[in-house]
């Protein structure tokens, strides 16, 4: 949704040409990556030998999926930084709220 990407077309043709936006094939590749990561998550989940090691592994895989959707599908990678700032600020605040509440209820002890 960058303002610079709007054209002045007056007919029914595409008015918004997102320059540098991915092709449908890229979207498909991202989707397949998401599916593979989800499959890895489920497989890793059944490895009992990993014990507590499973938590950082699953957290990182989840974060990678989150980032892929936000960057490519929500096109933050191609948009103005202000949109990323607004979304990431909310995301960071959400994390702070989670950790504050967990700390308040002595979850870490």
């Amino acid at each position: 949704m960058t303002s610079k990407s709007h054209t002045t077309a007056q007919n029914d043709q595409p008015a918004e040409v997102h320059t540098g936006h991915p092709t449908p094939m890229t979207y498909f590749k991202v989707a397949m990556t998401l599916v593979v990561i989800t499959a890895i998550e489920v497989v890793v989940f059944f490895f009992e030998s990993l014990s507590y090691g499973i938590i950082p592994i699953l957290a990182i895989l989840s974060l990678v999926k989150f980032a892929l959707v936000a960057m490519f599908y929500m096109h933050l990678k191609y948009d103005h930084r202000i949109f990323s700032t607004m979304f990431v600020a909310g995301f960071i605040l959400a994390f702070l709220v989670i950790f504050a509440l967990l700390g308040l209820f002595q979850w870490f002890i």
């Binding site: 918004e16 998401l34 599916v35 989800t38 989840s62 979304f87 709220v97």
Partner: protein, 238 residues
């Protein structure tokens, strides 16, 4: 839209935090390990991820002026979103009618707390009692000659009123489900507006872009819920 999505991040953040704070604090009733079915939830997660792909392909088709492809992909997104809601309804129904079965001769160390609770009825069943009562359970049946020796089965449904896990789980996933429902209605309306002259056109694609952003947000929230609530939920000690 980005400001709304940022604030919605905090909304779900508080719900996830509340779920984590009260996890393992339930006095009685089913826990995550008793009710979650990771294979089923993995399939519903796959469905939602695919709906995100079809949504982005719908928007891509629209910006390229391919209205027929746009409608096909948009309708696919609606169907996949409705399928996800179907999975969620099925899951909620299964939780509300959670069935527990215990082999009375198994070692107690193999039982979850809920199964151990039901197993206390084995003695009464072996003693010939007709109406076995175990706190919280209903429809209890004792089979003296089961396939693996004496067995006892009963129902302990999980609802928002059952325990803290039920309350926090249904609130979190229920609000996510409400977001998905709203998204399905929104996308459905875009589909119908695309047939109206001047409704949704390659030139007027901002409405679709905003709906797509909302839909992808619902997807990323589920990515977090699937990991934190379901996968971590079944992992003992988290």
């Amino acid at each position: 839209m980005w400001a709304f999505l940022g604030s919605d991040c905090m909304f779900f953040g508080t719900l996830i935090a509340t779920y984590l704070v009260y996890k393992g604090k339930s006095i009685a009733g089913p826990e995550p390990i008793d009710v979650f079915s990771i294979p089923v939830t993995s399939v519903s997660t796959f469905v939602l991820l695919m709906s995100s792909m079809s949504m982005v392909l719908a928007y891509s088709a629209l910006t390229r002026g391919r209205m027929k492809a746009f409608r096909v992909w948009l309708l696919s997104t609606v169907v996949l979103g409705a399928t996800f809601l179907g999975f969620q309804t099925f899951e909620f129904y299964e939780f509300a009618n959670h069935h527990v079965e215990v082999r009375c001769n198994d070692a107690a160390t193999e039982w979850t707390d809920l199964e151990a609770s039901l197993a206390t009825g084995c003695a009464a069943g072996a003693g010939g009692a007709e109406n076995i009562t175990v706190r919280g359970f209903s429809d209890i049946e004792y089979h003296a000659t089961g396939e693996h020796g004496p067995e006892i089965e009963g129902k302990y449904g999980l609802t928002p009123r059952t325990n803290l896990f039920g309350t926090t789980f249904f609130t979190l996933t229920g609000f996510h489900g409400a977001h998905v429902t709203l998204g399905v209605i929104w996308l459905m309306s875009l589909f119908f507006f695309s047939f109206k002259k001047g409704g949704v056109t390659p030139k007027r694609n901002l409405d679709t872009d905003l709906a797509a952003l909302y839909w992808h947000f619902v997807d990323v929230v589920w990515i977090v819920i699937f990991t934190v609530v379901y996968l971590f939920g079944v992992f003992e000690g988290f």
